[in-house]
């Protein structure tokens, strides 16, 4: 059975509890996308006009370091959100993303969603609450990575 975009969006944990009319609005900005292994999803510095929900696969969030090449900072997989640069000016990707496995995702048009959030601040608040949770999780994880917990004790 083919699942509608609305169905996929409403079942995603990220949108749990979101009013049905907002699910419709959000799904109106979404489309299904596929990437082959090794394909670039977005490049650092490019316009951040989309974000993604990974449905299947694995994506590396990476940064180009001169003399070292592309360095993976984090990987995101099934159920994860990829990208929040579309939320804040100047709407450019701070990091790049490349698939490590064949990947299926929902791509959301960031500009479309920003406009809808401007028109309806309740929707904007609901989305910001959810993205704040994702950003907080990533910040905590980054702090733990910085601690180098598995290194030899000082």
């Amino acid at each position: 059975m083919i699942q509608t975009l609305e169905g996929i969006v409403s079942e995603h944990a990220f949108f749990k509890g979101l009013d049905e009319r907002y699910i419709k609005l959000v799904a109106g900005c979404a489309k299904n996308v596929r990437f082959d292994e090794g394909q670039i999803v977005f490049r650092e510095g490019d316009a951040a006009d989309q974000f993604y929900f990974i449905r299947e696969g694995l994506v590396a969030v990476e940064l180009m370091i001169p003399q070292r090449g592309f360095t993976t900072l984090q990987t995101v997989g099934e159920g994860d959100v990829l990208g929040w640069s579309w939320l804040m000016p100047p709407y450019r990707w701070r990091f790049g993303a490349r698939t490590l496995q064949p990947t299926r995702a929902l791509a959301f048009d960031g500009k479309c969603l920003r406009n809808k959030c401007e028109e309806d601040h309740d929707l904007g608040y609901e989305l910001l609450k959810r993205f704040t949770f994702v950003v907080t999780e990533r910040l905590e994880a980054t702090r733990l990575q910085l601690l180098d917990l598995y290194g030899a004790p000082a």
Partner: protein, 291 residues
């Protein structure tokens, strides 16, 4: 509280009749370097006849003659009573000295001591294991047990975090286990290096999407205490009851039988009442800076 879990933590099971302060002589059968700073020693009794039995999660005191004694978790298969293995990181004089031992050298062994992982209580349930760094070593005997009795458990999930791909412990074994289709293994590293195509990120972030049923699961975690704090938060977020979470704690152990007090942890001694604790029993003191 599930009453059957009451039995999951037994007291020390040292060799029957043996003086727990008297080391037995064991000789090095093999010493294998696992990573840059970790190695595994395989020991056999020098008298050749006695057998060694232990429960997954227990530890021994290993005496490097002329240097000192350290507590190290047993990391071998509990069904193998002929030899025992210990995996450790080089962190001080004793482990450094141990790393220089050769096949045929002798060490003193006291043990096994301490409580064990609740492998019996996990029967009929999902088992979720979260570990990082050298913390995989004390859980390895539990994994051997779970796999030897695979039909008794539902899903078995192992989430393992390492510093870099080069720091992954028991790499070949993990690859072999992963190739079986009845065990879910996810490995992640804090820093991906060239050629690494696996997960990069903190191991605890994988708990949220790992395939276990929180209403019928037992969680076992071992690793840096900060890692375990975040693991507990994620388990709670998934709805796992606190009495179904088990942690292996670490403090400076000396006598291993609760006499000296070096490893006091609030009202308990890690050597005697732990190292494996049911989380609800230590919740009031867990993560407290003063303890």
């Amino acid at each position: 509280m599930a009453p059957q879990l009451e039995n999951s933590i037994a007291t020390s099971a040292t060799r029957a009749g043996a003086d727990p302060m008297l080391p037995a002589l064991y000789c090095i059968e093999r010493l294998r370097h696992e990573t840059d700073d970790t190695f595994t020693i395989e020991l056999a009794p020098t008298n050749g006849s006695s057998e060694f039995s232990f429960l997954p999660g227990q530890f021994n005191m290993i005496y490097v003659f002329g240097v000192g004694e350290v507590p190290i978790s047993i990391s071998s298969d509990p069904q193998n009573s002929k030899t025992i293995q210990h995996t450790t990181r080089i962190v001080g004089a004793v482990t450094r000295g141990m790393g220089h031992l050769k096949r045929g050298d002798t060490v003193g062994v006291r043990g096994p001591f301490g409580t064990h992982w609740p492998v019996e209580d996990a029967e009929g349930r999902d088992v979720i294991i979260v570990t990082g760094g050298i913390g995989l070593a004390p859980l390895r005997p539990a994994l051997y047990h779970l796999m030897a009795h695979r039909e008794k458990y539902h899903k078995i999930v192992l989430l393992y975090g390492a510093r870099t791909p080069e720091d992954i412990l028991y790499r070949r074994e993990l690859e072999r286990w992963r190739s079986k289709f009845d065990l879910e293994i996810q490995v992640t590293v804090d820093r991906g290096t060239r050629g690494w195509r696996g997960n990069v990120g903190v191991v605890t972030t994988m708990i949220g999407r790992s395939p276990f049923d929180p209403s019928n699961a037992i969680a076992m975690a071992c690793g840096p205490e900060v890692m375990m704090r975040f693991a507990v938060m994620e388990f709670e977020r998934r709805g796992l009851p606190l009495q179904n979470i088990f942690l292996s704690m670490e403090r400076n152990m000396k006598c291993a039988i609760g006499f000296c007090g070096h490893c006091q942890y609030g009202p308990t001694f890690i050597c005697k009442d732990g190292p494996v604790f049911r989380f609800d029993r230590i919740e009031p003191i867990f993560g407290k800076a003063e303890i």
